[in-house]
């Protein structure tokens, strides 16, 4: 009795796991330099300790005052990628900026490639235009970089940007007549939001009910004196699940030897399993009362566990919060705004 409930739960969990991991991820030439440890991440090792701490505290203060997440990253090399692609990929990977406001900003500096870029999140495109970021780089950063003074250039450029964001520095000093109005970011429509929010809810709904029906089937298996039905049912479920698994994971040839072999093996295994379960259940016999109790226990157990299971995926959205003061980035996006420069 207990065993069969565990098996059912295992099948359901497996199913849940499979559906939650199916996703398509494209591959870039870009390689993630690592997890962010703060607002300033000096992977190339060109900023001295004191300055890095100063930067960190001024960027933390900026975040507290204006809600803007400004990440400064130095890397040794872009690994053959363009700085535009690298900066955008890194921005998206780290999710710089709060998810709702998209007020994120990334200053990426690739030392060996002699390239730098401001990548501006959707929420800041109006404040920091491409032209403005380009002028800040040309006036405050590139001259120092040319002289080999990375710390000085980074500090000056960040000082300007922080000043603009806080409203201390007037943008007019750059004399930038904007020719085009900034387009407004079109947020994802309400309906698609609802459906994506609905999906986990759907999982909550479908799994308890699936499990419930499994239990009903097991119950009827137990009531019947025959053994064959459990085998047939379990075999069918095994076949369907493996078939779905293959459909979800690969676009490979549907009649490949590997696939047919796996599906066959799993089906045979499930059939045997079902036969054994049915045999044991039928021998023991189930009464109405014990069945009701069985359902009650089963759904309580599976319900609680599946909630815990879904919570795991929620916590992956935020950054890693292990470091003492830095709480990770908020999951913001950029649309490729900003400008690049070289020295």
């Amino acid at each position: 009795m207990k065993k069969c409930r565990q098996i059912l739960f295992l099948v359901a969990t497996l199913f849940l796991f499979v559906t939650s991991t199916i996703s398509v991820k494209s591959v870039y030439a870009y390689k993630n330099p690592g997890a962010p440890t703060g607002f300033a991440d000096d992977f190339a090792g060109v900023i001295d300790q004191d300055s890095e701490q100063q930067l960190e505290s001024s960027l933390t203060e900026l975040e507290q005052q204006t809600g803007v997440e400004f990440s400064v990253v130095t890397v040794k090399s872009l690994g053959g990628d363009t700085i535009e692609n690298f900066a955008h990929s890194l921005f998206q990977d780290w999710g710089i900026g709060a998810k709702a406001s998209n007020k994120g900003l990334l200053l990426l500096i690739a030392i060996k490639d002699h390239r730098a870029r401001f990548e501006v999140g959707y929420g800041l495109e109006g404040t920091l235009t491409d032209l403005l970021t380009s002028k800040i780089q040309q006036q405050y950063m590139i001259p120092q970089f040319k002289a080999g003074d990375y710390t000085g250039g980074i500090k000056d450029a960040i000082g300007q940007v922080v000043g603009i964001l806080k409203g201390d520095v007037s943008v007019d000093t750059y004399q930038t007549p904007e020719v085009v109005d900034q387009p407004v970011y079109v947020p994802v429509s309400i309906w698609s939001k609802i459906t994506s929010d609905f999906f986990p809810f759907f999982l909550y709904l479908i799994f308890p009910s699936l499990i419930f029906f499994f239990q009903l089937i097991v119950y009827s298996m137990a009531r019947s004196k025959s053994y064959w039905m459990g085998g047939a049912l379990f075999g069918g479920v095994g076949l369907t699940v493996t078939e779905l698994l293959f459909a979800g994971f690969s676009n490979a040839d549907p009649f490949s030897f590997f696939k047919l072999g796996t599906v066959g093996l799993v089906s045979v295994f499930c059939t045997c399993l079902g036969l054994i379960i049915d045999y044991r259940l039928s021998k023991k016999g189930v009464t109405e009362k014990s069945f009701a109790e069985f359902i009650k226990k089963g759904s309580a157990q599976t319900g609680g566990s599946s909630i815990g299971f879904l919570d795991i995926s929620d916590s992956t959205f935020g950054g890693d919060s292990s470091s003492d003061s830095f709480g990770g980035f908020g999951g913001g996006s950029s649309g490729g705004g900003g400008s690049s420069s070289s020295w």
């Binding site: 494209s26 235009t129 994802v188 479908i206 029906f213």
Partner: protein, 184 residues
């Protein structure tokens, strides 16, 4: 007897839940494709608004290059009149290649390169091009997810049953693949 009815009922309920879930999933993906396309159009429009300024700046100095100005104006009109998505893509690609040609021409005029207004416009154009490529990639990624889901078994069968049609990728024409480069 009771048992058989119970099992049949269970099977139908499971199939029903699956169908509803699949349908909603496809609606969500389709909606995602639409919103990503809107973002692409947004950025294309930004470029269409920006380039006339660039043309104005360049025109005075490069009077003899009338053909390229004609091409740009022509592509712009074509885009404005485009009804379908593939027409829009074609017009945008034509526009992109004529801008590329214009930029090659401007390299022959050193006075332009040192002009402040011109370099400002070029920075904006570069930013816009980058935005377009980002949104185009986002769009193509969403289309890939959606189209793959439509071709998979068994979800795709359900999707096609409900009348979901595959979406088109935004393919860049081969001559437009080279992005304009700004040199300082």
């Amino acid at each position: 007897m009771k048992k058989t009815i119970l099992i049949i009922l269970a099977v139908f309920v499971i199939i029903g839940i699956y169908l509803v879930g699949s349908y909603n999933h496809f609606i969500g993906m389709k909606q995602d494709v639409t919103s990503k396309w809107a973002q692409v159009e947004n950025q294309l429009q930004r470029r269409f608004d920006l380039v006339p300024n660039l043309v104005e700046t360049v025109k005075g100095l490069t009077k003899q290059e009338q053909t390229v100005f004609g091409e740009i104006a022509d592509a712009r009109t074509r885009y404005a009149g485009a009804q379908t998505q593939s027409d829009k893509v074609a017009a945008a690609n034509q526009f992109e290649s004529s801008i590329g040609r214009l930029l090659v021409i401007t390299e022959n005029y050193p006075t332009l390169e040192s002009s402040k207004l011109f370099s400002d416009l070029m920075i904006q154009l570069e930013g816009t091009e980058n935005r377009i490529s980002v949104e185009r990639k986002n769009y193509n990624d969403t289309v890939q997810v959606y189209d793959t889901a439509l071709q998979r078994f068994p979800g795709g069968v359900v999707g096609r049953m409900f009348g979901f049609a595959p979406a088109e990728y935004f393919q860049v024409s081969s001559e437009a693949k080279q992005n304009p480069q700004v040199k300082f």
